[in-house]
């Protein structure tokens, strides 16, 4: 079974600074981490391969679209159980929104060949949760979102439990399929010493737009339907009135004001 896991490198912080001049993210001095939701996707891919071993031969390939330094993240994916990895990197891919990203990833997935693609439910920087479903649409594959447990999988179909607003659903779908997973699905393992040794010597191919044979108008900024007009902080407005004086005085003034406003 051909298992592909999509990973994204994101800034390892909870608050980011925006450069007021350029309206872009200040990335200097910020350590990149693998998008936490994607670690569950990788773990599930590796577990699938382990579970199926003996019955089906499995291979887990980690892919990412990003700058050259994303290679390090892919190396760690190999240290943590992926068999190999491919980086999609090209100046032409820069500035991609979810549409262009999904398109690019889908081309790579097609080129690799696949039975199942596993993604995290969303990234912690973009937070859209769109790349998984968009990719499934472009690939013409089945799609299950928010998977919290894979109940069964064989060469032809998958049955999975997915989280919905007020409970869960059990969904079956034919393969090939794309799924996005939630953090309830597993506890991701840490790298292993043998994995680290393997990852150090692993060759991680870098695929460019040309190698994917894609129309440059459909990738990166030019392939994006989203145009960022402006990024700004909401203006802080001081409003409201602070009542002063002793407690009885404040209470009577508050009551007056509430009456004025016809609240009471």
């Amino acid at each position: 079974m051909r298992i592909i896991v999509c990973l994204k490198q994101v800034p390892g912080v909870t608050t980011v600074k925006i450069d007021p001049q350029t309206n872009t993210l200040v990335r200097q001095g910020i350590k990149n981490i693998v998008n936490p939701f994607d670690t569950y996707a990788l773990e599930e891919g590796v577990r699938l391969r382990e579970k199926l071993s003996g019955k089906l031969s499995g291979k887990v390939t980690a892919i990412s679209m990003g700058p050259p330094q994303a290679t390090e993240m892919l190396r760690e994916a190999i240290a943590t159980g992926a068999d190999d990895a491919v980086l999609l990197s090209d100046a032409a891919f820069a500035g991609a929104d979810t549409l262009a990203t999904s398109f690019t990833l889908a081309q790579a997935v097609n080129k690799l060949g696949y039975d199942i693609v596993i993604c995290g439910r969303q990234t912690i920087d973009g937070d859209t949760g769109q790349v998984g479903p968009e990719m499934a649409e472009m690939l013409g594959a089945s799609f299950i979102a928010y998977v919290s447990h894979i109940e069964d999988i064989n060469n032809e179909r998958i049955r999975a439990k997915r989280m919905v607003g007020d409970g869960y659903e059990v969904v079956a779908a034919p393969l090939p399929a794309v799924i996005t997973v939630t953090k309830e699905i597993n506890l991701p393992r840490l790298p292993s010493l043998r994995g680290v040794a393997k990852s150090k010597s692993a060759v991680i191919p870098v695929w460019t737009a040309e190698m994917l044979g894609v129309d440059k108008g459909r990738v990166g900024l030019s392939g994006s339907a989203t145009k960022v007009i402006k990024v700004f902080f909401p203006q802080r407005v001081q409003c409201g009135e602070i009542l002063k004086g002793g407690i009885p005085e404040q209470v009577s003034r508050l009551v007056d004001k509430l009456r004025e406003a016809k609240v009471i």
Binding site: R189, L190, P191, S192, L193, R194, V196, A197
Partner: protein, 385 residues
């Protein structure tokens, strides 16, 4: 400080630290409180290949030496030495097998230990044989192509949890300790029972239990090395393992130093953080000096072993004694400069102080080891070296 680690050693150290911080730290206080064996963490350590570190490459290990193992011990102990000793006991239970086992014995057991599927343990101590290890009473009498074990081992780390036990017993009781031999005994062997589970002062995540043998029949193929060599084999095993206790002590002292440093930078008294007080600075600096000195002695000893030295009794005793005495002092000082807060279970240093005590006691009490060091000094003088 530059420690001149190999790439592999750097990887081992950083991965062990990551396991300690991500997996052990969140449950450390709970494991201590509940006195619960850390099975989930043992699985994490196994998944990360940590049990392969001390197993030769031909038996699915990574063929690491004493220093590699010390680095794992130090990093795990920096967060919880109760967890660390559970890991280390598996190494202790494997050494004799690695050094004296036949190809067949190694093939049977070492890959299981390397994969972390089965834990190992080592059992020497008995109620009559603590520092006087020669006074063991457990017997292993040859009968019908096997050995019949009778006796009780005491204070055995990983007792009840491990599945592969390295047991020292008398095959020729008349010869006393010169009639001792070492056996591999598997859990669930008929006649092998677990007795009292100890309630300890520290390292409470680890299991310490009695092993009871009542007419327990062990196949002759489970004898390690030769009959009668049990005692020298065991002494050599302990020489090898003592730097690991030194590393444990160094790691836990490092943890206490870091916790205390964090605290005194934040705690304000007399209008300043505590670290602004020279009285505190002096203590903190002495703690840091002591930790570093112990670390270097432990590393140097481990490297001596890894260099293929024939005898390292003295070095290994020194590393263990110095590091464990240091850890007791450093953890006590950490509690002292953190004051009332340090004494409370909300902070980790009181646990570290409790955990430190055992490092002065087990694998040779520091007094017994000083005697051994003095004996080596006398021997050397007599040889005019």
């Amino acid at each position: 400080m530059e420690y001149f680690f190999t790439e592999q050693q750097k990887t081992i150290r950083s991965l062990a630290r990551r396991i300690a911080e991500e997996r052990i730290l969140p449950v450390r206080a709970e494991l201590d409180e509940q006195e619960e064996f850390p099975w989930a963490i043992m699985k994490d350590l196994a998944d990360s290949d940590m049990f392969r570190v001390f197993i030769p490459a031909e038996f699915e290990g990574l063929g690491g030496g004493a220093l590699d193992l010390c680095l794992v011990m130090e990093e795990l102990s920096r967060v919880c030495s109760g967890v660390a000793v559970s890991y280390a006991a598996s190494a202790l239970g494997s050494y004799s097998l690695i050094e004296y086992g036949t190809q067949e014995q190694k093939q049977k057991f070492l890959p299981q230990i390397a994969g972390g599927k089965r834990l190992a343990a080592f059992a020497l101590t008995e109620s009559t044989a603590g520092s006087d290890a020669t006074n063991i009473k457990t017997t292993a009498i040859k009968k019908d192509g096997g050995y019949v074990l009778n006796g009780t081992k005491q204070f055995i780390t990983n007792g009840g949890e491990a599945e592969i036990y390295d047991i020292v017993a008398l095959t020729n009781p008349e010869k006393g300790i010169r009639g001792a031999s070492v056996f591999i005994v598997e859990k669930d062997t008929p006649g092998f029972f677990f007795g009292k589970k100890e309630k300890k002062m520290g390292i409470r995540a680890s299991a310490t239990r009695e092993l009871v043998f009542k007419d327990c029949v062990v196949p002759a193929g489970n004898l390690l090395g030769r009959e009668g060599l049990g005692f020298p084999m065991t002494m050599r095993l302990l020489d090898r393992s003592r730097p690991g206790v030194g590393a444990q002590a160094t790691g836990l002292a490092q943890g206490a130093l870091e916790a205390a440093t964090d605290y005194v930078r934040e705690r304000v008294q007399f209008g300043h953080p505590l670290i602004a007080l020279q009285a505190v600075q002096m203590i903190l600096a002495d703690m840091a000096i002591a930790v570093e000195a112990a670390r270097l002695l432990v590393y140097a000893t481990a490297r001596t072993i890894d260099s293929g030295a024939k005898s390292f009794t003295e070095e290994s005793a020194m590393a263990k004694v110095f590091a464990s005495d240091m850890a007791m002092k450093v953890t006590t000082d950490a509690v002292q400069i953190m004051g009332g807060a340090g004494y409370m279970r909300d902070y980790p240093v009181e646990k570290m102080m409790r955990d430190a005590k055992i490092t002065q006691i087990y694998e040779g009490s520091n007094q017994a080891l000083r005697t051994a060091i003095a004996f080596e000094l006398r021997k050397r003088k007599a040889r005019r070296e």
